[in-house]
Amino acid sequence: MIRVKGLTKYYGNKCAVDSVSFEISRGEVFGLLGPNGAGKTTIIKMLTTLSRPDSGDIRFNDIDAVGNPDGIKRLIGVVPQDRNFDRELSVYENMLVYGMLYGIKDLQNKIGKTLALLGMYDERHSCIDVLSGGMQRRLLIARALLPGPEILFMDEPTIGLDPQIRRDIWDIVRDIRDRGTTVFLTTHYMEEAEAMCDRIGILSKGKLITVDTPAALKESVGAYVVEVQNNNGRLNRVICSSRHEAMEIAGKSGNGAVIRRVNLEDAFIKLTGETIER
């Protein structure tokens, strides 16, 4: 459905995105996982026509999104990281203007249904500023879904939200996927990527290191981890290919060694050499 090849973007002399290539199939949830500054938002901006790549090719259902950005605008919905509402307008008025921009027919009815789907119908006459952070994030999703996009782009959809609301948003994303919409999201939360994504692309310093399912990513680096606290109080991790190997290393390390299964964070650290601040 989406094919990205050699996508590159410079800001001055700094290469923000370095020859990134991947493909996304219809109906999947694809996640880009990386720390702040890895290039996730730049990639999403290029995919959603807001930023022109310096080189590379983006195709949506064989439509050239770089040469013909207007050709894909009706296919995509965007949930940006910024809560970019018109704050002077009500929930309904924000939805109304957005729907008009997309030329949606029977708009009043569709706004009502979309707000109801996101549990926001009772808030339709509220001002934006009285909505909580979680409600504003839901409204961003509702607004993006209003034109019925084939692909929904979500840039850090749960950033700044507390754990319970974050899980509510995950449920909403799964529901969107179940309704047949392809979802592309960026995140720097490991558990979010693991919980929501069918496949994950690991991004580091503008480069896409690898793309695979969460299970395959974990398997690619090993099976078990031995965690040992050293004399300085730092936690050392040793990734092992088998439980037997892990037991041996733990035995040599003395008391306090912990053996556990490899998680996505271990895979991320092993593949990129970086850690992500939570």
Binding site: S51, R74, L101
Partner: protein
């Protein structure tokens, strides 16, 4: 009619703001001060040609008000929307064409500028009892609004910091307001200064604002404003089309 959603949004925002004291105050304070200070100070004492000074001044203040309001409101709204609130990005990512976005924003600038100008016309008529306007004034006012709304889009798209808008206002808009025939006739300026002033579009608006009949000067003024407006409008649409973060 693809421009209509953009225009409708701007009008919704305008409706919410128009009754706020700060909005009205910042839009009309200086034109009112100029009108009352110069109007009451010199209004009936000084004559320019066969007209009283207030009859000369009022069209100039109306032109200046339409210029500052259409320019400032459009450039501020666009630069803030683009750099701070990120609401411009919502419109840019929608299927509306750059030309339609430009048209919608410029039309909203016309309405905003026209509303402010109408207040000055009414105040001038009620307080000073003068209404020195013709259909040519209306044509001049309309072209002025198109031109400076378009210029507002250009500045709103180019500025890298909303605070930079004040630079454009202080170094371009305000000098133009004073030297383009708002407060005194251009032909009283030295010939070199007059030549420079005739490069400023507001000069042509002021000529039309005070015109009673069509002569070569009026035709030249209309042509100059149309050319300025068209060039800046197309440049603004091009900036929107080429927008990239």
């Amino acid at each position: 009619m693809m421009w209509y959603p953009v225009f409708y949004r701007e009008m919704l925002l305008f409706k919410k703001k128009i009754l706020k004291f700060g909005y009205v105050f910042s839009s009309l304070l200086f034109p009112m001060i100029y009108l009352f200070a110069f109007g009451m100070g010199f209004g009936r004492e000084i004559r320019i040609g066969d007209a009283s000074y207030i009859e000369f001044l009022l069209p100039g203040i109306v032109a200046m008000t339409s210029m500052t309001n259409s320019f400032n409101l459009v450039s501020n709204a666009l630069s803030m929307g683009r750099l701070y609130f990120k609401s411009f990005q919502v419109i840019r990512q929608s299927p509306i064409s750059p030309m339609s976005i430009m048209s919608g924003i410029v039309l909203s600038g016309i309405v905003r500028g026209f509303t402010a100008a109408a207040v000055i016309v009414i105040v001038g008529g009620v307080i000073f009892g003068v209404m020195p306007f013709t259909l040519l004034s209306l044509a001049g006012l309309t072209l002025n609004l198109v031109l400076f709304s378009s210029m507002g889009v250009v500045v709103g798209m180019l500025t890298k910091d909303p605070e930079d808008n004040a630079l454009y206002t202080n170094f371009f808009i305000m000098p133009m307001a004073f030297f383009s025939g708002t407060f005194f006739p251009i032909d009283r300026l030295p010939s070199l200064a007059k030549g420079i002033v005739m490069l400023l579009p507001l000069s042509y608006t002021n000529i039309l604002m005070r015109s009673k009949e069509i002569t070569a000067t009026e035709i030249l003024s209309i042509a100059a404003l149309v050319i300025f407006s068209l060039a800046i409008f197309l440049f603004g649409a091009r900036l929107i089309r080429n927008y990239s973060e």
